[in-house]
């Protein structure tokens, strides 16, 4: 039987052993990590799985330009801003939703883009490219990249007739079968559209709140990412839910789910994303080349046809898609643009107000 003194010795030995091991391992790890960075690196900040990190694309880009693409990700726009604020001089290219570009420029987190260096500039749709959301003071702060629609989608196996109105989300026939995105701005926007108001500036917020509270018998659960949405639909957690156009295309094509996207007669939320260049970007040259590549038809067509993507801001790229592509059929449908309410920039105070409203609604919904 081992005595206490044997144990004492082995405790001490183990302690020392682990300490040394841990220290060595950490040193080795840090040396490994340090060796990875190099001068020709291009740092990109984006959502994960949102085009810029497609393996074939970064490989092609590196072969052509010698710039190695290194990614860092965020899970919300607010997080993206926090990362820009707390990591100065780290990032080159940043994906910023057009509703946030002005605020980022004002806070001097991004720099003006020299559009004369972009070969695809002339082919971009002027409505998005020259939008005041991306251009201020005669300078361009964001390169319009992709655009999409936020509306709702449904499971075609469960629901046989296509709903044409946004009120379908409040239809008692679908009680307990509705999914909803957990986002204050989107929630308020849906509430506004459903009560006939402007989603960017609802006149009667109280009416919006009441409409959202009426979701109580309808909602089963919230979702906040495309992947969650797919899994919920797959598992039968909901049959009809708010969703994004590009994601609906992907769910249908890549995941083979029975999904149909609806843009109701009352209208839907439009949005577009821009590629911006961070202030004090360490690799400006590579950054400009990269964003030029991203809006090119060459990249876009392959991206949409192999993986599925939102609609391109480059008319030429859109036109190069196969005739039955989602982005040509659904997004190119006549009369669509008139029904869209594009997401406008919001002030910090407006955002706080909407957030508080949504939080109090969620509290009620949870009772």
């Amino acid at each position: 039987m081992r005595s206490n003194s044997d144990w004492r010795g082995s405790t001490r030995r183990n302690f020392a052993r682990y300490l040394v091991l841990g220290g060595l391992a950490l040193a080795a790890g840090s040396m490994g990590a340090a060796g990875a960075a190099s001068a020709k690196d291009l740092h990109v900040l984006n959502w994960q799985g949102y085009g810029t990190d497609e393996a074939w694309a970064t490989k092609l880009f590196e072969e052509r330009t010698g710039c190695k693409v290194v990614h860092d990700y965020f899970n919300s726009e607010e997080e993206m801003l926090t990362k820009l604020r707390t990591n100065p001089g780290t990032y080159d290219v940043v994906l910023i939703n057009s509703a946030f570009t002005q605020a980022a420029a004002k806070e001097q987190l991004i720099q003006a883009i020299d559009t004369s260096k972009l070969t695809n500039w002339k082919d971009l749709n002027p409505k998005l490219r020259d939008s005041t959301y991306l251009n201020t003071g005669g300078k361009t702060y964001g390169l319009s990249w992709v655009w999409g629609v936020t509306s709702f989608a449904y499971n075609t196996d469960d629901i046989k007739t296509k709903p044409e109105s946004v009120q379908a989300l409040w239809d008692p026939a679908y009680a307990g079968k509705v999914g909803w995105r957990d986002d204050p701005v989107e929630a308020v926007a849906f509430g506004a559209i459903a009560t006939g108001q402007d989603p960017n500036n609802p006149a009667d917020l109280d009416k919006v709140k009441q409409k959202l509270l009426a979701l109580k018998p309808q909602l089963k659960t919230f979702w906040s990412s495309e992947d969650e949405w797919n899994k919920h639909l797959q598992g039968g957690d909901f049959e009809i839910a708010t969703y994004w156009s590009g994601s609906a295309a992907r769910s249908k094509k890549a995941f083979k789910l029975p999904v149909e996207f609806v843009i109701p007669k009352e209208g839907a939320i439009g949005w577009f994303d821009g590629l911006s260049i961070a202030a004090n970007a360490p690799n400006l040259d590579c950054a400009l080349k990269f964003i030029d590549f991203m809006v090119s038809p060459e990249f876009y067509v392959k991206w949409d046809t192999t993986v599925g993507a939102p609609a391109s801001a480059n008319d030429k790229a859109n036109a190069a898609l196969p005739a039955d592509a989602f982005n040509r059929v659904v997004m190119g449908q006549p009369g669509l643009q008139e029904r869209l309410f594009y997401m406008a920039p919001l002030t910090d105070d407006q955002r706080k107000q909407f957030t508080e409203l949504w939080e109090s609604v969620k509290t009620e919904l949870g009772k």
């Binding site: 607010e78 926090t82 001097q108 910090d348």
Partner: protein, 297 residues
């Protein structure tokens, strides 16, 4: 070294003081620099209108703290989070203590170590993957539902997914090992001869338990309670995934102030209110704790 026994009491006292500083110093220096200092900055922010970053002008205000009482839903959420904390902690205690007792006193030899380690192992699985696995078990037409249907065909489908119950199950599962382990290390320290002596003096099983085992295992129970209750009331991931519509907790609101909207002062204020609540609860129970732990030191 032996001279210490002969030296004046002043020198022994100073030696003791150095021992205390030497022992607590490193840990607290580390904590001060990495946690307490940054949190002081956050505490300062909580009294401002906006975080003073990016050339924003911030003004002092008590608004963030007052809003907590003015806007009813914060109080509702706090109540909900506390209720969740109580449920999970009590269940962990009721379920975990007997398991710890079994492990400490009724399992012998090498088995004990092996089982002890097996209890710890689930800790090392990723919380998200675990929680997601629970959704597969608990959802309607999920594994549990199918198992029940197989045994009792014709039973109505299980509907506990996206409810408070599902959240409790998920959290109890995540935190149960804490209670089992802390109770185990206390129970295991109780000398068997103490229990034998009590029995030989005529004490029956329940009496031995109530008057010897329970008081001596109090430190373990207490440690487990703290390590479970405190994180649970601030939790947001399991409530979100398992609670669906009803999964909105105080932790989610705090998170929102950093990930959805740029309102660090409010997030900070809510966190410190949470901390204050925890300390208040502790202070309320302090006399009870003191009495229970007195016989030990």
């Amino acid at each position: 070294m032996s001279a210490s026994r002969h030296s004046a009491s002043g020198s022994a006292a100073s030696r003791r003081r150095w021992a205390v500083i030497g022992l607590t110093g490193p840990a607290y220096l580390w904590l001060a620099f990495t946690v307490l200092l940054p949190l002081s900055a956050m505490l300062y922010f909580s009294f401002l209108t906006v975080a003073p970053i990016g050339a924003r002008v911030a003004e002092p205000t008590l608004g963030n703290y007052l809003d907590y009482f003015r806007k009813g839903f914060y109080l509702t959420l706090t109540g909900r989070s506390l209720w969740l904390g109580v449920w999970v902690t009590v269940l962990c205690l009721l379920l975990g203590f007997p398991a710890a007792l079994a492990l400490a006193k009724y399992v012998k030899g090498r088995w004990r170590e092996a089982l002890f380690l097996l209890v710890v192992l689930p800790f090392w699985s990723n919380a998200l993957v675990r929680t997601f696995s629970w959704t597969m078990v608990l959802r309607s037409d999920g594994m549990l539902d199918n198992a029940l249907q197989a045994v009792f065909p014709g039973l109505p489908h299980l509907d506990i997914m996206f409810t408070f119950t599902a959240v409790v199950i998920g959290l109890v599962h995540s935190f149960l090992p804490y209670m089992i382990l802390t109770c185990y290390i206390s129970l295991q320290a109780i000398d068997d001869s103490l229990l034998e002596a009590a029995r030989s003096l005529g004490a029956a099983g329940p009496t031995v338990f109530r008057r010897i085992v329970l008081p001596l295992s109090m430190p373990g129970i207490l440690a487990g309670t703290i390590l479970i209750f405190v994180p649970v009331i601030g939790s947001f991931m399991e409530p979100r995934i398992l609670g669906g519509r009803g999964g909105f907790m105080l932790g989610n609101v705090i998170e929102d102030q950093f990930t959805v909207v740029f309102n660090w002062p409010l997030g900070a204020a809510l966190s410190f209110i949470l901390l204050a609540i925890v300390l208040l609860i502790l202070a309320a129970f302090y006399p009870l704790l003191r009495r229970n732990l007195q016989g030990l030191a």
